[in-house]
C-alpha cells in the first residue's frame, strides 16, 4: 500500500496485483542462499539428507527383496478375506469413486487437483507392475466410476445434490453390508477373516462414524441443565480420557463379556470396534465442546427470541456452526485414530500391523522386517498425508475461520 506509485491513484484504472516471477536461479537465490546463515542451513540440510537418503535409496533399489511384499500383497490389503469374495470390496471402492466424483463436480467444480487425485492415482496404481490383472482392471474401473460421477454431477449439478447426500449417508451401512454379507444374496464373511488394510480402514471409519454422533451427544450432555445427564457425561469423558486406548481395548475384550448373558458371544472385531468407539467418543465430545464454546451467547438468544425451542436452536443454529469450526480437529482425530488402530494387533487382530507380524513369522520370510515395515509405513504415510491434504482443501472450501 505504502509503496504504490502515485500515478496509480490518478489513472483510475483497475490494476492487477503485481506478480513475482523468478527464474530457477533467482528462486534458489531468494529462498535458499539469500544470506550467509541461510546458505549454511541449506548446506547442512542437504548434507543430512544425503547421509540419510543415500543408504536408504541404495538399499531400496539394490538390496531390498520386495518379493515378500509382492507375494503377500493380498494379505496386506484384505487379510484372509476369501479371494472369490474380494470383488465385494471393489464394489465398495467403486461406489466410493462414484460418490467422490459427484462431490468433486458439485462442491469443488473448479478444482483440477481433486480431479487429478481421483483419476491419476487409481490409474497410477493400475500401472504398478506387480499387481494382478484383476486388480489392474478394477483400478481402471475405479477411475471410470470417478469420471462417471463427475460427468453426472457436471451434467445436472442441481438435480444430483440429493443423490449425492443420499449416497454419503447410505455409504456407511452399504459398506458394512457389502463386506459382511447379507444372508441369501451375499455370502457372510466372518469378521475373523477381515484383515490388513481393509480391517485398519474399517476400524477407523466405523470408529469415527459411530463415535461422531455419540461425541456430539456427550458434548451436549456436558452442557446440559439436567444434573444426571451432565454428571454422566463428565464422568464418562474424564474417565475415558484418563486411560490409554490399549486399556480400553483390553477392557472391551475382557470385561464386555461380563456384562452380557453368556449365550451371546461377540467376536473380537466387534469388541475392538466397541472399544475404539467408546474411546473416540470421549475425545470427539471434547472437540465438539470446543466448537460449542466458541459460539457467542447472542446466537442462542437470537434463536430463543425467535421462538425456536432448545432442540431447534441446537440443531439449526448452534451445531452447524460448532461443527464447521471443528472440522480440522475432527480430521486430525481421524488421522490419529487411523494410526492408533495398530493397537488392535495387541489384542490379536490381524490389521495391517498384525498381518505384518504374521507374515514375518513365516519361515520363508524371516529377516525381511525392513521390507515389510517400510512398506506398511509407506501405506500409513500415504493415507495420512492424503487425508490431511484433503482436509486443508475442505477448510478452504468451507471458509473455516472466516465469518
Amino acid at each position: 500500500m505504502m509503496n504504490r506509485e502515485p500515478e496509480q491513484y490518478t489513472t483510475g484504472e483497475v490494476l492487477a496485483p503485481p506478480t513475482e516471477r523468478y527464474t530457477v536461479l533467482g528462486w534458489l537465490k531468494k529462498n535458499l542462499f539469500s544470506t550467509w546463515y541461510y546458505t549454511l542451513l541449506t548446506l547442512v540440510t542437504i548434507y543430512i539428507l544425503y547421509i540419510v537418503l543415500k543408504p536408504t535409496l541404495i538399499w531400496a533399489f539394490t538390496q531390498a527383496q520386495w518379493q515378500v511384499v509382492v507375494v503377500n500383497l493380498r494379505l496386506f490389503m484384505v487379510g484372509q478375506y476369501p479371494a472369490d469374495q474380494v470383488f465385494r470390496i471393489w464394489i465398495a471402492l467403486h461406489l466410493l469413486a462414484l460418490t467422490a466424483g459427484l462431490a468433486w463436480a458439485i462442491w469443488l467444480p473448479r478444482s483440477r487437483r481433486t480431479g487429478a487425485f481421483l483419476l491419476l492415482i487409481p490409474l497410477a496404481l493400475a500401472a504398478l507392475p506387480f499387481i494382478s490383472s484383476f486388480s489392474r482392471i478394477n483400478w481402471i474401473l475405479f477411475a471410470v466410476f470417478a469420471l462417471a460421477g463427475w460427468g453426472l454431477g457436471t451434467w445436472k449439478p442441481q438435480a444430483m445434490r440429493r443423490p449425492l447426500l443420499a449416497l454419503l449417508l447410505a455409504y456407511f451401512p452399504i459398506l458394512i453390508l457389502l463386506i459382511l454379507g447379507v444372508q441369501p444374496i451375499l455370502k457372510i464373511v466372518k469378521t475373523n477373516l477381515w484383515g490388513g488394510l481393509l480391517l485398519t480402514m474399517l476400524l477407523a471409519v466405523v470408529g469415527i462414524a459411530v463415535s461422531f454422533p455419540l461425541g456430539i451427544l456427550l458434548a451436549l450432555g456436558r452442557k446440559s441443565e439436567l444434573p444426571i445427564v451432565k454428571f454422566f457425561s463428565i464422568i464418562y469423558i474424564e474417565f475415558i480420557r484418563g486411560v490409554p486406548l490399549v486399556t480400553v481395548l483390553f477392557m472391551a475384550e475382557l470385561m464386555l463379556p461380563l456384562f452380557l448373558p453368556p449365550q451371546i458371544v461377540i467376536d473380537n472385531v466387534i469388541r475392538a470396534m466397541a472399544g475404539i468407539i467408546l474411546f473416540e467418543a470421549a475425545y470427539m465430545a471434547e472437540n465438539v465442546r470446543g466448537g460449542l464454546q466458541a459460539i457467542p451467547t447472542g446466537q442462542y438468544e437470537a434463536a430463543w427470541a425467535l421462538g425456536l425451542n432448545g432442540f431447534q436452536t441446537t440443531f439449526f443454529i448452534i451445531l452447524p456452526q460448532a461443527l464447521r469450526n471443528v472440522i480440522p480437529v475432527l480430521v486430525n482425530q481421524f488421522i490419529s485414530l487411523f494410526k492408533d488402530t495398530t493397537l488392535v494387533a495387541i489384542v490379536g487382530l490381524l490389521d495391517l500391523l498384525g498381518i505384518a507380524s504374521a507374515v514375518l513369522a513365516q519361515p520363508e520370510f524371516l529377516g525381511k522386517q525392513r521390507e515389510v515395515y517400510v512398506f506398511i509405513a509407506l501405506i500409513y504415510w500415504v493415507f495420512s498425508y492424503a487425508m490431511s491434504y484433503a482436509s486443508r482443501r475442505l477448510e478452504v472450501a468451507l471458509g473455516v475461520g472466516e465469518r
Binding site: 438468544e301 437470537a302 427470541a305 425467535l306 452447524p320 456452526q321
Partner: protein, 274 residues
Amino acid sequence: MREAVVKVKTTPEQILGTPEEHRADAIEKGKLPIVLAHEVHKWYGNFHVLRGVSLEVFKGEVVVIFGPSGSGKSTFIRTINRLEEYQKGKIIVDGTELSRDIRNIEKIRMETGMVFQQFNLFPHLTVLQNITLAPIQVRKWPKDKAEEVAMQLLKRVGIPDQANKFPGQLSGGQQQRVAIARALAMQPKIMLFDEPTSALDPEMIKEVLDVMVELAESGMTMLVVTHEMGFARAVADRMYFFDQGQIVESGPPEQIFTNPQEDRTKLFLSQILH
C-alpha cells in the same frame, strides 16, 4: 434512594381476572395493556439490578426507555421475552403471564420480536434463510410462503437485492435491517429493540431509524431502548427514564423534553442533548 414515583394504571389482577375469551379483545381495543410489568425485581447474586419496575404498553404504542449505562435497561427489556429471569413481581404479555412454564415462554417468544444491539444474525445462513428459519420451523409455514414473506420484508427494509448473501458480506446497517426483517417475519405483536443503533457507524444509524419510524407509523407496538432522542421525539407515545434499576420518570416526549420533573432526568438529558 427515593422511591419510584411512576404509577401504572392497570393491575395484574385486572388482566388475569378478565376471562380469557375477553382478554384478547380488550387488549385489541386498548382497554388492557399488551405488556404489563408489575413491581419487577431482579438480583444478580446480591446486586439488586431491577428494583420494582412497573410499566405498561398498550397496543400500537411506541414506548422509549432511556437512562444511564448500567441502569438495567437491557436487563429489563430482556425479562419481557424471558431471556432473563426475574425473582419478584409479574410480567403479563398479550394476556399470558410469564412463568417458569416453558409453554408460556415459547408462546410469548412467538408473539414478541427482538432486535439486539449486536444484530446476532446467524452467520452460517444466508439472509433469506435467516429470515425464513423461524417461520418454517416454529410457525410451520411452507417454504414458499416463508420466502415470499421474507422477500416482501426485505423490500420493506430496503435491501431486496441482498437476499442470497451471507451476513458477513453486509454492512452493519444492512445487517441490522435484516435483523429487523427476521424478527418481523414471525409476525409478532410486539417488537423489542435493545439499543438497535448504538453499534452502528453514524452514517448507518439513519437507515435503521428510518425503518423503525416506518414500522412505528404502520401501527406496530414497540418497546425501544435507545438514546436517539430524535426518534423518540418523532414517534414515541411515552418515554420512561431508568436509573439504578428503577423508573424515575415517565411521560409523553414533549413533557420529558420540555418539562422534566426529576433532577436526575434533567441532569441526564442535559448530558446527552448537550
